[in-house]
């Protein structure tokens, strides 16, 4: 069951990622990225990370991708054009990426003692404690300060986004 689910959703992931590259219209790329992120959420579930699977769907496939599709539609982004720069990037990019993938794959395949992923195996051996319980205990006890700092970070990001996207920047540039 684990193997079949892994193959199906790993296939969805790779197909979505390749489709992201092949599509020339940004909205199609955004939709394939949603496929990738939702499939990744299923893979997180297989690895026993229920909370992260939910967060992946809500934060990535939900919030971030809505923002992306919204901006694509707002800016009325059209098909991308191919220039001399894109041909150069293509001829340099493909070999570079093949080398990167080969190096990483070699390191992974040579690594000893990686073992197998077992379905339904939690984070802890303690009976009766779920993944989310363990996660929240660490997050809200040991890592409370980083967690609160993250909320400040998001507040600053919201303020920065509003300041950047507001019309006042345009008037300054027009002077």
């Amino acid at each position: 069951m684990h193997l079949i689910l892994f193959f199906v959703f790993a296939g969805f992931c790779l197909a979505g990622a390749i489709n992201l590259l092949l599509q020339s219209h940004p909205i199609n790329s955004a939709l394939s990225l949603i496929v990738v992120m939702t499939s990744l959420a299923v893979l997180y579930l297989l690895l026993g990370a229920e909370f992260l699977a939910a967060a992946q769907v809500i934060v990535y496939a939900g919030a971030i991708m809505v923002l992306f599709t919204f901006v694509v539609m707002l800016l009325n982004a059209g098909r991308e054009e191919h220039t001399l720069g894109s041909r150069t990037a293509r001829s340099v990019g493909f070999p570079a990426v093949v080398v990167i993938l080969a190096v990483i794959a070699t390191v992974i395949l040579k690594a000893q003692g990686l073992g197998v992923a077992t379905l339904g195996e939690g984070l802890t051996d303690v009976k009766g404690s779920t993944n989310i319980e363990v996660l929240s205990r660490v997050l809200f006890h040991e890592l409370l300060l980083p967690f609160e700092v993250t909320s400040v970070l998001i507040l600053i990001a919201i303020l920065g986004a509003v300041a950047l996207a507001s019309h006042s920047g345009e008037r300054q540039a027009g002077k």
């Binding site: 893979l43 690895l47 992260l52 923002l67």
Partner: protein
């Protein structure tokens, strides 16, 4: 068929999937010519790295790996908000999203 139903997945396969997704993200970052699609490729790379974090957290029963993914998601959300705001600001001035035409830092 029954062996297919009960067989477990090697950790290495998850890591290879993560590596493949990361490479596709790098490739997209290099060959795509649309500012928004380039930004999407960065998100794809972040997701690929998140998958390896979750895989290693599963391997070593370490909760810190999953916590790290949670923080990466929060930072990615902030990054997406600010990045898309920058794209909107650039589009207002340049009226284009082609990265070849956005070659000056000065707006």
């Amino acid at each position: 068929m029954s062996s297919l139903l009960t067989q477990e997945v090697p950790i290495a396969w998850y890591l290879l999937l993560s590596a493949a997704l990361f490479s596709l993200g790098v490739l997209g970052f290099l060959i795509k010519r649309n500012l928004i699609t380039v930004f999407m490729s960065i998100e794809l790379m972040l997701n690929a790295v998140n998958l390896s974090f979750v895989t290693f957290a599963h391997q070593w029963h370490a909760v810190k790996g999953q916590i790290f993914v949670f923080f990466v998601m929060m930072v990615a959300a902030a990054e997406a908000a600010v990045g898309l705001a920058i794209i909107i600001a650039v589009f207002r001035v340049r009226a284009t999203l082609a990265v070849d035409r956005i070659d000056l830092m000065k707006l």
